[in-house]
């Protein structure tokens, strides 16, 4: 599988994503600076990592979504290439419009960093197929702005089309509407999620809840 990780000023999970991708797929991804205007040829996957791109100024992900590399990401997605956004990457994807809705300040106003039990609510996607019959997993979250918000029509459509891929178990720690932790685009090519699968992807730490995301992408490539 050929992957690339975008790097914005303020990204801080880019290396973790690269380590996880290499561990699961056996191949290191290309690291692409946001000022590039083209992606390497023949990519299967582009990852927008977590962090605080552009210091979260104006709105989380707002500046990054207008970076020079973004048109190439749109083209990649339009060709059916896969795009994964984690945490700040999810916020960026919402800001680009590649995914619907927005991520607002957590309901409790606090930054939350904790292991988070999730429901894999759709294991029939290229991002989640490896979870198979295993419908629950644990992946850490670490964010202040993860409360997924969209209008009722959008929420109903997401739910009706099986595009809510990950949900928080029980009450959402950040107040997300419908307990949404991760969603997928209508064509199944783009997924955004607030939990960090790259932080639960190391057998030596005995935290493997995120492995399925990368394994699924590898299997689908």
């Amino acid at each position: 599988m050929k992957a690339a990780v975008l790097v914005f000023p303020g990204s801080n999970c880019d290396r973790d994503i690269a380590v996880a991708l290499e561990r699961v797929t056996g191949r290191a991804p290309a690291m692409i600076w946001h000022k590039e205007t083209a992606l390497p040829a023949g990519l299967d996957l582009v990852v927008l990592p977590g962090g605080f791109s552009f210091g979260d100024y104006l709105r989380c992900g707002a500046m990054a979504a207008r970076s020079p590399i973004i048109p190439a990401v749109r083209d990649h997605a339009a060709r059916g290439g896969r795009v994964l956004g984690v945490c700040n990457g999810f916020q960026i994807l919402c800001e680009t419009g590649l995914l619907p809705g927005a991520l607002l300040r957590n309901a409790g106003l606090k930054f939350i960093c904790q292991e988070t039990p999730l429901v894999v609510s759709n294991a029939n996607t290229p991002f989640t197929a490896a979870y198979g019959g295993e419908r629950e997993t644990v992946i850490p979250i670490a964010h202040a702005d993860g409360r997924y918000t969209a209008d009722e029509n959008t929420l109903n459509r997401l739910e009706g089309e099986g595009r809510i891929v990950f949900r928080y178990q029980g009450e959402a720690p950040n107040g997300s509407m419908r307990g949404i932790a991760g969603i997928i685009s209508d064509d199944g090519a783009v997924m955004g999620m607030m939990p960090h699968p790259e932080r639960a992807c190391d057998p030596s730490l005995r935290r493997m809840g995120g492995w399925g995301v990368f394994q699924s992408l590898l299997d689908a490539a």
Binding site: R59, R66, L104, N106, A107, T149, A150, G175
Partner: protein, 80 residues
């Protein structure tokens, strides 16, 4: 010219910061406060003297970057 852009969450979008501000004000004894909404003000210094052209330009800036119209609304005021 100056342009004053006011951006805030749309009516109906839960503003948790506004809620916290209202609760704090009430806690301080300002009982008249019914609710609060927190937004932001962006002041732009604009080249030129055509107010109508500037307003159209700033609205384009709002649509492109300054506001996320999925959740936010904005107001533009031009001061010459």
């Amino acid at each position: 010219m100056k342009a004053i852009v006011t951006v805030g969450l749309k009516t109906g979008v839960l503003d948790v910061q506004g809620k916290a501000v209202a609760t704090a004000l009430k806690g301080l004894g300002f009982d008249a406060v019914r609710s609060a909404r927190v937004g932001k003000v962006i002041e732009l210094d604009i080249v030129g003297s055509d107010a109508a052209a500037a307003e159209a330009d700033v609205k384009a800036m709002c649509e492109t970057l300054l506001a996320n119209t999925v959740i936010e609304s904005y107001r533009v005021e031009i001061k010459s």
